[in-house]
């Protein structure tokens, strides 16, 4: 092999590597040469520089002149014309004078049926777009055109699906199926599918949706909904639609595309770059941050503001539990009502402090206050509720959980209870009048829109966060948030109560002697090891009371204690 041929062969290997078309054997050969021949390392870098210079817009331009007239022409006009013979003759003449190079016949790739593709003018090497100052002005160094994929590799895995119905496809869509970046349209007729990309970006697709895996960091969405959760290491993950490209900048976002082409972007966390428009001369780029949403018209590509809907997209799901999570916090009032924390509970349903059983307020006939139990009362009908108890330190430390945690700072109370731990609803007062709605700080509460837990003193309820975690393994509890105070429409007497919140027996919130029109915000971070969350109310002492007909004092008079919007704030598990 003469020196020139050796050089050509080496350059060919480098070009194959550049184009991503080198086989493992060719890469091994390139590697071998570079290890054995230090001079070739220099040539390798020089060839890379050559490529960079000619690719880079504003750098070296390749002069192009007409063969006959010498005038400047666009080479594409030549290749687009039908005069291939002329072109081939020129090439043939050139090759005659070049070193002998055998041009073998093109053979189909082994074991594959090649798809017939009409050659498309994809782009003027994307570097020119990436590096253009115009693009930088928009802080966007990305291209809208989907780069061509020369070889298909597995880049993602179908991790879970629920209620799914896939259209006929060559790919078996089972959990664990590896997916190629070959751009094959995939149609999820209904249900939900979760894909985990090798970059650790995760997307949840809600059917009906048609999408394509384009690369390890790109997914195309023709229509449907996609929610993307992108860790920092996978920043740059992009969703392509018919008229827009959304580039992650370390975030969570949802994209909805209608079959007509309208694209809606809702950014839930972090920020994204949105590029809209189909042609380079009218592309618009902007940053869209948390809490903002944009609509890109399918007709005009005009971008407009829309309200950010944080509950629109399925963010995660668990096929075992048949649970789909759209970003909602977990509603503790709903759990008290027998629900799953996401709205399946019964309004007006309560936990009986004497038995731990569930009952409906509307079925109660005897509204007389009762002496509470002196022991912890486990709740067995709902995993999320550990139990209920009466806070009263007169008999010593109070047990506040099924595993025996105790708290000793409660005051001595009357040990009297009224009603139960209640998921909103309506309460009778006075006893001979129709039941009344619950009002809190000027708003009607205790319904599905404004949930709340009604807990007349003296009462405590403990939730088992670990049981909630077990039920929803895909989400992480981060915070307990609520507001507490006395209901507005408390009967015309003088309430006086104390509010307590404990985490694993440790005091996290306490406000004593709360009266009418006093409201308090509560925000308690939840760590992964926290398990028992207790909400407690105690009477404010014996100074405000009334008596039963037999003279028994009722120190819990009118303590209509209320925890408004009692939510566990959650996030998708990373």
């Amino acid at each position: 092999m003469d020196n020139s041929q050796e050089q050509y062969d080496f350059t060919e290997l480098v070009l194959l590597a550049l184009q991503g078309e080198a086989s493992p054997a060719q890469m091994q050969e390139l590697n071998r040469i570079l290890i054995a021949r230090p001079d070739k390392v220099r040539v390798y870098v020089e060839l890379m520089e050559l490529f960079t210079e000619m690719s880079l817009q504003g750098s070296v331009e390749i002069p192009s002149t007409d063969v006959d007239s010498g005038k400047v022409v666009d080479s594409s006009t030549i290749v687009n014309s039908s005069d291939f013979d002329t072109w081939m003759k020129i090439l043939a003449e050139e090759e005659k004078t070049a070193l002998a190079i055998e041009i073998p016949k093109e053979e189909p790739e082994e074991g594959s049926i090649q798809k017939v593709e009409i050659p498309q003018k994809t782009k003027k090497i994307s570097l020119s777009v990436i590096f253009s100052v115009a693009a930088l002005l928009f802080i966007v160094l990305f291209i809208y055109v989907v780069p061509p994929v020369s070889t298909s590799v597995e880049v993602a895995v179908l991790t879970d699906s629920i209620q799914e119905n896939w259209s006929d496809t060559n790919t078996s869509m089972q959990n664990g199926t590896r997916l190629l970046d070959d751009g094959t349209p995939l149609l999820l007729r209904k249900g939900f599918a979760e894909l985990q990309f090798d970059t650790n970006a995760r997307v949840v697709i809600e059917g009906p949706a048609e999408f394509q895996i384009l690369a390890e960091d790109r997914i195309g969405l023709r229509y449907g909904r996609i929610y993307a959760t992108v860790p920092q290491a996978a920043t740059g993950f992009s969703v392509y639609t018919q008229n827009a490209k959304i580039i992650d900048l370390g975030t969570e976002f949802g994209v909805q595309t209608d079959i007509d082409g309208d694209t809606n972007l809702h950014v839930i966390k972090g920020k994204t770059t949105l590029i809209a428009g189909e042609k380079s001369d009218n592309k618009v780029s902007m940053e869209v941050g948390r809490g903002f949403a944009k609509k890109i018209s399918g007709i005009s590509s005009v971008i407009s503001d829309i309200p950010c809907n944080t509950k629109l997209f399925a963010r995660t799901f668990d096929s075992k539990e048949n649970f789909v999570w759209r970003g909602e916090p977990i509603n503790l009032a709903d759990i008290v009502g027998g629900g799953n924390g996401f709205g399946t509970g019964v309004i007006g349903s309560a936990v009986d402090p004497l038995t731990g059983e569930s009952f409906l307020l509307e079925n109660v006939i005897d509204w007389t206050p009762h002496k509470g139990q002196e022991h912890y009362v486990p709740v067995t009908w709902h995993d999320f509720i550990d139990g209920v108890f009466v806070p009263d330190s007169e008999l010593g430390p109070v047990t506040i959980s099924s595993n025996g945690l105790q708290f000793e700072l409660f005051p001595n109370t009357s040990h009297m209870v009224w009603a139960g731990v209640t998921n909103g609803g309506r309460l009778p007062e006075p006893l001979d009048e129709p039941a009344k709605d619950l009002w809190f700080n000027g708003l009607q509460y205790g319904n599905s829109l404004r949930p709340g837990i009604f807990m007349h003193s003296n009462l405590g309820v403990t939730f088992d966060l670990e049981a909630i975690r077990r039920a929803y393994p895909n989400i992480t509890l981060t915070e307990f948030r609520t507001r507490c105070g006395i209901c507005d429409n408390v009967p015309q007497r003088l309430p006086n109560a104390d509010f307590w919140v404990l985490m694993d027996g440790q005091l996290r919130f306490n406000e004593n002697a709360v009266k009418n029109d006093q409201f308090y915000e509560i925000s308690i971070p939840i760590s992964p090891s926290d398990r028992f969350l207790s909400l407690v109310t105690t009477d404010g002492g014996l100074d405000v009371c009334w008596s039963l007909e037999d003279g028994t004092p009722i120190p819990i008079d009118s303590d209509w204690c209320f925890f408004a919007d009692p939510y566990l704030i959650v996030k998708a598990k990373e």
């Binding site: 350059t11 590597a17 493992p24 192009s64 063969v67 190079i101 093109e106 990436i130 690369a215």
Partner: protein, 175 residues
């Protein structure tokens, strides 16, 4: 970020982008992957621009950021056999540093060498670099085999690089 800051970034980036991209390309060798890493790097440079100390080497700063992106990329591709060995990468970095000082001269030499190319060679380059056709598309347009196009391109690139080397040698000799 204030407008002047943006302008500063754009100015520096425009000037130094080629060096950063060349480094990335030399390290990952696959064009599309290099473009992706460049995108990530540029975005990160922009985000971190407040930390860039004025008067220091912008390209070196960008390359440092790029190196982390490349490391991430290589970790993700660890099972991929289409990679060069660690030894080779170390040598590539050395050569990259060695040719940087003569980068402008090489660019000027390239301009002259392109003019010396035969017309058909220039058109072939133009189809790829100016019009954005990949080798397969060029082969289809010219009704030739892709392998053949690779060989033609290999010859053109080799000759161009030789021409640049010779030109630099002549310039050096002539002072």
């Amino acid at each position: 970020m204030p407008l002047s800051k943006k302008t500063d970034f754009l100015g520096l980036y425009s000037k130094e982008q080629k060096k950063i991209f060349l480094f990335i390309l030399s390290m990952v060798h696959r064009q599309t992957d290099a473009e992706d890493i460049m995108q990530q790097t540029a975005a990160e440079m922009w985000r971190m621009f407040d930390r860039f100390k004025e008067g220091t080497n912008f390209a070196a700063w960008g390359i440092t950021i790029a190196r982390y992106r490349i490391l991430d990329y290589r970790k993700k591709q660890v099972r991929n056999s289409l990679f060069l060995s660690e030894d080779v990468y170390r040598k590539v970095i050395q050569e990259f540093q060695a040719i940087l000082p003569s980068s402008d001269k090489r660019k000027n030499a390239l301009r002259g060498c392109l003019n010396k190319l035969k017309e058909s060679d220039r058109r072939m380059l133009s189809m790829h670099y100016e019009d954005g056709f990949n080798y397969k598309q060029i082969a289809e347009k010219l009704r030739a085999s892709k392998t053949g196009i690779y060989k033609i391109m290999a010859r053109i690139h080799t000759n161009l690089n030789r021409c640049i080397q010779k030109t630099l040698l002549i310039w050096e000799t002539n002072g």
